[in-house]
Each structure stands twice: as structure tokens, then as C-alpha cells.
């Protein structure tokens, strides 16, 4: 079929064009020596000026990690990772805050410009004094520039509302009680190999606390960037939303082009109390490796949300287009009566990318509901797997789950796999699961073409429609970027 041939050609062409957001900023770094041992953990803790309990917590995690084996069940393959051959700490050298953008390191500004961050926001990010008062922006940004949050913007506005949004290293020092109470309560340090590694050596990440009854006044956003060569990035995010409070959190990623594989093992923990709601959106576009599959990020992430309160809600939305290997299962533990878990995902793989992603919905309480919509698009020589679990525990009376997994294959060298686990121990719980795998159907193409659309437009329309259920879940700020990413990964064939 010509349309598909063209699509394939265009995809190949696109793959050859270099990574649009592949660039590297040359900034002075404070880097720990390569290697991982107890000393590394102590060094990270010391540099972060952490309290004693935190160091103990890290060391405990590190000892557990030593005992654990790297998981092998995911449908991905990669050369063995040498955990000793990486820097576990990299921090931009501190300078006094610049008075204006003129004093800011021009390399940093260039990076922001390439990322498309508006000038004013750049000033905020670069920590220019007095920039906060100039203008109100609707989005708060916590830029994780390599391992340290360089600046957190809009803190005043958030502080007035009682919302805490800061780097987690700062939270460990300043909101020690909160962190100590909740850190590791959703993803225990020994949960899995990568979570244990993260717990031992995480360098930074974001902390959000929304107090009772507060609707967070703005969307919270982080730009994750991996910048220095050979530094594993271990982000730790902790979001706590109290009764009747709500927050929408945006996480977006781009990374510079480089040759060596980089390990990224983040842990994200969400906690929702009675009637609370958390919406967590991700656009992930890390460097996927070149068209031979060299380089690219290994993205081994543990994301889990606990709906602890009655009628609480956690919603994960993700658009995954980057990374050479993705290993990611944002999950919901539905412990509060009537709580709701949602998972909306678009995963696009091309060239030699491998994605093994999905979700877990653990229904513990009565009347809990969950929805899973997963769209997978495979092209080139890539492999993409949906792996999910829906579990109804004995107390999950009248619980409901609906799951839909659709895969679209473009080209005959790729693979698409669906591995759902469905477990029910309550007769009143109802589970519906459906999965389809197909290419763009000739009927659909014919229908579009008979109405005067060009083949390219028709393919574009169909791919767009294929992902629509997920894209519409994204907040405005991300919808635009997500569409752009899809275009770069696949839809280029349309234009």
C-alpha cells in the first residue's frame, strides 16, 4: 500500500535527521568521582546537607539494592549496565544570583532558548533577582537542570495559597517531618531494583504539598533535563494532596544528544487523601538513540500513586516518544472507598527503541473504579509492549475496571505486544478488557480518500484519531508539545 510505504520512507527520513532537541550545554559542574559505594551515598547526603535520618534511609536502601538482582522480565534487551561506570552526583557550581539576564551564563540562556522557554521565564529560571514580581505566569516551573533544581519559580504565589512546591532536597531540610512521614510510603525503598537504587542515590526532584481544601492555583511543571556526560539521573518526586485539595502536575523531558547510554531511574510517589485529586501528566522525549540504536536514554521508572482517602482520584497521562528503552508502569493503589484511578498513555517507538510500559490498578476498597486507555504505535525496528495488571482484592465490592489497549504497526520490522494480567477475587467486581492490533486499515484510508483527502492527510487523520482519547486528557500546555512530538516521531509523513 503506497501510503504505508511513504509513511515508512518519511519515518526513515525523520529518523536520520538529527535529534531536534539534541544539544549540550557547557556549564561548570561539580562532579563526584565515578562509582557507587557507601561513600558515594554519604557524599550525596553530605552535599545535600541532609539530616541524619535521611542518610540512614539512603544507606538502608543501598544495602537492600546490593542484595537485589536487576529484573529480567521486561521485554527489552540491552547490554549489561555497569553501575560503577557513572557519576552519581553532578551539580552546577554556585555563583551569587545575577542581577539581570546579561549576567547569566550565555550557554544556559541558549539552552532555554532552544527549549522554547519565554524570556521572562528564562529570567526566573536563571534566578535573576526580582524577576518574580515582574509578571504573573500561569505555570510554575521547577527546572531540574541535571541533578539540582536550579530555580523554582512562582513560589510566592504558591506560598500564599499554602502550597509547597520546591526541590525535594530543600523539602528534606525544611519540611523534614512531612518528607519523613511520606517518603517511601508508596514506593518502599526495597520495592524493586531501580527503586532501591534511586532511594540510595537520588539527587533531586520535586516536592509538592497541597494542604486541606486548597485547589492549587496553577499547573505545576518541571523540565527535566539530563545535561552532563555520564551522570545517571535519579529523580525523586513526592506529591501529597490533602483532603478536598487538588493539583495538576506536568512533567516534560528533553535531553541533549550524546553517544553513551544513560541510565535514568526515577521514583514518583503520589498520595491523595479524602476527595483529593492529582493529575500527573508526562511528555517524555529523551534522546532515543540514533537510527542504529546507539546512545539514547534508559528510562527505568517507578511511578505509583496511592488513593488513600475516600473518593480520591489519581490520573496518569503520558506521551512517551523518547528514550531508547522505557520501563515504566505508573500505577494506582485504590485503598480509599470509591476512589478512582486512571491511566492514559500514548507510546511511540521508532528505529531501535524499546518500550515496555503499562500500569497497575490495585483495587483494595469497595466501589473503586479504574480506566486504562493505552495506545501503542510501533515503527522502524522498534518493539513496544503494553504490560498491565488489574487486581480486584476480596474487599473490592462493586469495583469496576475498563481497559482498552490498541496497537498500530507501521512497517514490517517492528513488534507490538500486549501482556495484561487480570486477577479478580471479588464476584461483584467487573472487569472488561479489550485489545486490538492492526495497521491503518485500508477501509479507513479508502473512506477518507473517497472524500477527497490526500493519502498523507488521511494517514494523519487516522493516527490523530487513534491517539485522541489520550491526547484530550493532556492539559493545554502539553497538548501542543505532545502533538509536535507525535509529528516528529511519525506524523511527519502527513505534512
Amino acid at each position: 500500500m503506497p501510503a504505508v510505504t511513504e509513511t515508512r520512507e518519511t519515518v526513515e527520513k525523520l529518523a536520520k535527521s538529527s535529534y531536534e532537541w539534541g544539544f549540550e550545554t557547557d556549564i561548570e559542574m561539580d562532579i563526584a568521582p565515578k562509582g557507587l559505594n557507601e561513600e558515594t551515598v554519604r557524599l550525596i547526603s553530605a552535599r545535600k546537607e541532609e539530616p541524619e535520618w535521611m542518610l540512614e534511609w539512603r544507606l538502608k536502601a543501598f544495602r537492600m539494592w546490593l542484595e537485589m538482582k536487576e529484573p529480567e522480565w521486561a521485554k527489552v534487551s540491552h547490554p549489561p549496565i555497569d553501575y560503577q561506570d557513572a557519576h552519581y552526583f553532578a551539580q552546577p557550581k554556585k555563583k551569587p544570583g545575577p542581577k539581570s539576564l546579561d549576567e547569566v551564563d550565555p550557554e544556559l540562556l541558549k539552552t532555554y532558548a532552544k527549549l522554547g522557554i519565554p524570556l521572562h521565564e528564562q529570567a526566573l529560571l536563571a534566578g535573576v533577582e526580582g524577576a518574580e514580581e515582574q509578571k504573573r505566569m500561569p505555570v510554575a516551573v521547577d527546572a531540574v537542570f541535571d541533578s539540582v533544581s536550579v530555580a523554582t519559580t512562582f513560589r510566592k504565589t504558591l506560598e500564599e495559597a499554602g502550597v509547597i512546591f520546591c526541590p525535594i532536597s530543600e523539602a528534606i531540610r525544611e519540611h523534614s517531618d512531612l518528607v519523613r512521614q511520606y517518603l517511601g510510603s508508596v514506593v518502599p525503598a526495597g520495592d524493586n531494583f531501580f527503586a532501591a537504587l534511586n532511594s540510595a542515590v537520588f539527587t533531586d526532584g520535586s516536592f509538592v504539598y497541597v494542604p486541606k481544601g486548597v485547589r492549587c492555583p496553577m499547573e505545576l511543571s518541571t523540565y527535566f533535563r539530563i545535561n552532563a556526560r555520564n551522570t545517571g539521573q535519579f529523580e525523586r518526586t513526592l506529591i501529597i494532596v490533602e483532603e478536598r485539595a487538588s493539583v495538576s502536575y506536568l512533567e516534560g523531558c528533553t535531553a541533549p544528544q550524546r553517544d553513551e547510554n544513560q541510565l535514568h531511574a526515577a521514583v514518583v510517589e503520589l498520595i491523595a487523601m479524602d476527595d483529593a485529586s492529582i493529575k500527573y501528566s508526562t511528555v517524555q522525549n529523551w534522546y532515543p538513540g540514533d537510527d542504529e540504536g546507539r546512545g539514547g536514554i534508559y528510562n527505568f521508572v517507578t511511578k505509583r500513586g496511592a488513593c488513600r482517602g475516600a473518593r480520591s482520584k489519581i490520573s496518569w497521562t503520558q506521551v512517551e516518544t523518547g528514550s531508547s528503552i522505557t520501563w515504566k508502569y505508573p500505577s494506582c493503589v485504590l485503598a480509599g472507598e470509591g476512589s478512582v484511578g486512571e491511566f492514559y498513555s500514548v507510546a511511540v517507538t521508532n528505529n531501535h527503541q524499546q518500550a515496555d510500559t503499562g500500569t497497575k490498578m490495585i483495587h483494595l476498597a469497595p466501589n473503586t473504579r479504574s480506566t486504562i486507555i493505552a495506545k501503542t504505535i510501533s515503527a522502524g525496528k522498534s518493539d513496544s509492549t503494553y504490560r498491565g495488571l488489574v487486581r480486584m482484592q476480596p474487599k473490592a465490592r462493586n469495583a469496576r475496571n475498563f481497559t482498552q489497549c490498541d496497537s498500530l504497526l507501521i512497517g514490517d520490522q517492528c513488534g507490538a505486544h500486549t501482556v495484561p494480567y487480570i486477577e479478580s477475587r471479588n464476584m461483584t467486581a467487573r472487569i472488561e478488557h479489550e485489545a486490538t492490533t492492526s495497521k491503518i486499515s485500508e477501509d479507513q484510508l479508502f473512506y477518507c480518500r473517497s472524500r477527497g483527502l490526500s493519502e498523507e492527510d488521511a494517514v494523519g487523520l487516522i493516527v490523530n484519531g487513534f491517539c485522541r482519547e489520550v491526547l484530550k486528557e493532556l492539559p493545554m500546555e502539553f497538548a501542543v508539545e505532545a502533538q509536535k512530538l507525535l509529528q516528529i516521531s511519525l506524523e511527519g509523513s502527513v505534512g
Binding site: 480486584m392 514490517d412 507490538a416 505486544h417 500486549t418 487480570i422 472488561e432 486490538t436 492492526s438
Partner: protein
């Protein structure tokens, strides 16, 4: 392919390896899988590993006739009876077209526990070759087991040459606490058709670990249906390969699980050639403390373009303690395919129940009607009317 490499030592394993007398190397190396082995995560073999299973002794005529007495047997066709792993009798003369000879090798299943166990202790089972172009009609294979802490490991070989056809009625029953571990190597030739209808009503305390390797040539059809109805722990495992264009495979089934029993239907449908089709409908009804397992995988190779694969798996839970674990799996490497699967889990619909009761049907009867209706579209897939009728009567019993 499943990974079943979990090695452990147990009295059961040692006894099996001892009985294998030198053929047990692969079994000793594999061990008896624990729940950490992906293929056995829902079907624990712990109790199985703790028993020393001896070779089942020969049964007397009277014992065999007693076992045969209450079984649902068709009147027509040929019949072969195996009792405690030994060929007891060929009760009706096999029609001349059924020639006994060695089978050709089929796709390897040697990484699967049930096959490894059978390989170590294999006993001669049915060996059938249906000559090209012949319709061999119906053949009843009755496998009966009786005794405590005994096991049988029959190995059957069935070859259908080009254009041949056979209806195999595979009946499993017995008394006591035993393990039946049959293996079938099946080759369906070009344009041939094997209808394999299995009724598994082994004793409520028995173990049943059946494994079937079926390979299907161009235009051939392996049409199978299993009623899993007995056994304390019973797995029916099918590994079928569609080897050439226009081959068809059906792996359908019903599982009715009550008491403290566990019934498991595990299948792998491997599309290794273009233009093939596979259909699978599996329905499980669970009551009391019953546990149901369904693991169905469809694998589509890169060359298997124009594959049409469909899988439906539904479970009905009738009690608070019943449990279903289901893992429908698609692994697809070809782009021009149509593959889908669906799965549902739930209880009887209160509205449907209310509808029937409002028309004067007592609750128990109304429930019964709804359960039978649930099973009907799976049962309808049994193409042989006589066997469908036998299965239906067996479900009611």
C-alpha cells in the same frame, strides 16, 4: 516461550527422577516450578511436589469396567481404553484407515514442565496415522486412572496425512488422588482436519497436567475444544503452530470450577506462516472456592502477514471466595494483521436475574438458565453434534 527454570528439591521431584531411570536429567535440571516461574504464577505445584508419586499399577478387568460404567461414551466409532497408563483394550475394531505407526517430530515444547515430566516417564500411548484422503470417523480415547499417590504419563502420537480427517474424543476420568500427565504430539497435514474434543472429569482430588503440541500444515485445521471439569489441580496446555498458509487453529474451552479445585487452560497459538487464522473462546464459571486460570498467548511471526487472530476469554464468578486469574497475551511482529482479544470478569447480571424471576422462574433455576446461556456460545463451537450433546449432558450433571 515460557521460562520454567526454577529449580527446587522436593520429595516429589526426587521420586520422579528416580523412576525415570536415567531419562530424568532434563527434569532434574528444571525442577518443579514454583510460583516464581512466570508460567506457573497462578497454578501452584507445591502440593504436587510434596507427594511421592509411584507408578500406577495395572488394574483388573472388573476395576476398568467399573470406571467405564458411568462415563459419557458415544455409541459410534472406534474406542481405545488406557487404564493406569496401560493399553487395556481396543474395544471396537479400529477402522482400517487408522494405521498405527511412529509420528513425525513436532515443534519443540521441551521447555515446558508438563512436557519435561512426560519425557522423563513416557508410557506408550495412542499412535495413530490416518492415511491421505481418508476420513477415519470418530475415535474415542478413554484414559482412566485409579489409585492413590500414583501417576501416569501417556505419550500419544497422532498424524493426519494430506486431506485426512479424524474426530478424536479424549475422555479423562478416574478415582483417587493421582496425577495424569498425558502428552499429545499432533501433526495435521495439508488440508487435513483433526477435531479434538476433550472431556476432563478426573477425580476431584487428582492432578491433571496435559500438554498438546500440534502443528498444522497448509489449509489444515486443528479444531479443539476442552471441557475442564475435574481434578483438584488441572492444566490443559496447548502449543499449536500454524506452519503454512491458510492453516486454522481453534483452541476453545469451558472450565467449570467448584469446591477447592483449580482449573487452568494455557495456550500458545503460534502463527509462523502468512494467511492463517486462529480462534479462541474460553469461558470459565467459578463457584465455592474455585480458582480459574486462563493464559492465552498469540504469537505472530514477522512473515505471518494477513494473520487473523481472535481470542475471547470470559469468567463468571458465582461465589465470594471464587477467584479468576487471566492473562491474554499478544506478541506481534507483522504489521498487516488483524489480532484482537477481549476479556471480561463479573458476576451474574442482577437485571437479567430480575427479568427471569419477574416471569415466575425460581431463583435457583433462573441462575441456572443464565449460567447455561453464558456457556452456550462456547459450547456451540463444538462442531460434532454427538459430542456436543455428551458435553452438554456432562455439564448438567
Amino acid at each position: 516461550m515460557s521460562v520454567e527454570t526454577t529449580v527446587q528439591t522436593s520429595p516429589g521431584l526426587e521420586a520422579f527422577v528416580g523412576r525415570a531411570a536415567g531419562h530424568g536429567t532434563a527434569l532434574a535440571a528444571m525442577g518443579i516450578p514454583t510460583r516464581r516461574a512466570e508460567a506457573w504464577r497462578y497454578t501452584p505445584l507445591r502440593a504436587f511436589a510434596d507427594t511421592v508419586w509411584a507408578e500406577a499399577p495395572a488394574l483388573s478387568d472388573a476395576q476398568v469396567q467399573a470406571l467405564l460404567a458411568d462415563l459419557p461414551l458415544p455409541e459410534a466409532g472406534s474406542r481405545v481404553v488406557f487404564a493406569n497408563g496401560r493399553k487395556f483394550d481396543v474395544l471396537d475394531s479400529l477402522s482400517e484407515s487408522i494405521l498405527v505407526s511412529a509420528a513425525e517430530p513436532v515443534d519443540p515444547i521441551e521447555d515446558r514442565f508438563s512436557a519435561v515430566l512426560n519425557a522423563a516417564l513416557a508410557q506408550d500411548g495412542l499412535s495413530v496415522r490416518v492415511a491421505a484422503g481418508t476420513d477415519a470417523g470418530m475415535l474415542t480415547l478413554a484414559s482412566l486412572t485409579s489409585g492413590d499417590a500414583v501417576s501416569t504419563h501417556l505419550r500419544h502420537r497422532i498424524v493426519l496425512e494430506e486431506g485426512a480427517s479424524l474426530t478424536l474424543y479424549d475422555l479423562n476420568a478416574g478415582e483417587g488422588r493421582y496425577v495424569a500427565n498425558p502428552r499429545f504430539d499432533i501433526v495435521v497435514g495439508k488440508g487435513a482436519r483433526l477435531t479434538h474434543v476433550k472431556l476432563q472429569q478426573d477425580s476431584q482430588t487428582a492432578g491433571h497436567l496435559a500438554i498438546i503440541a500440534a502443528s498444522v500444515d497448509a489449509g489444515g485445521n486443528y479444531d479443539s475444544f476442552t471441557l475442564n471439569h475435574g481434578g483438584e489441580l488441572a492444566r490443559h496446555e496447548v502449543v499449536s503452530t500454524l506452519n503454512a498458509p491458510h492453516a486454522q487453529v481453534h483452541v476453545n474451552g469451558i472450565q467449570i470450577v467448584d469446591g477447592n479445585r483449580l482449573n487452568d487452560l494455557t495456550s500458545m497459538i503460534h502463527h509462523a506462516a502468512p494467511d492463517c487464522g486462529s480462534r479462541q473462546t474460553v469461558k470459565t464459571v467459578l463457584s465455592e472456592n474455585g480458582q480459574g486460570v486462563f493464559q492465552g498467548k498469540i504469537l505472530v511471526d514477522r512473515i505471518a502477514q494477513k494473520t487473523d487472530g481472535y481470542q475471547m476469554n470470559q469468567a463468571l464468578l458465582l461465589s465470594e471466595k471464587a477467584q479468576i486469574n487471566s492473562k491474554p497475551e499478544l506478541e506481534i511482529y507483522a504489521d498487516d494483521v488483524k489480532c484482537s482479544h477481549g476479556a471480561t470478569v463479573g458476576a451474574l447480571d442482577d437485571e437479567q436475574l430480575f427479568y427471569l424471576r419477574s416471569r415466575g422462574i425460581p431463583e435457583a433455576e433462573a441462575r441456572d438458565i443464565l449460567v447455561r446461556a453464558f456457556l452456550l456460545d462456547a459450547l456451540d463451537l463444538v462442531t460434532d453434534e454427538i459430542l456436543r450433546d455428551l458435553l452438554q449432558r456432562s455439564i448438567r450433571a
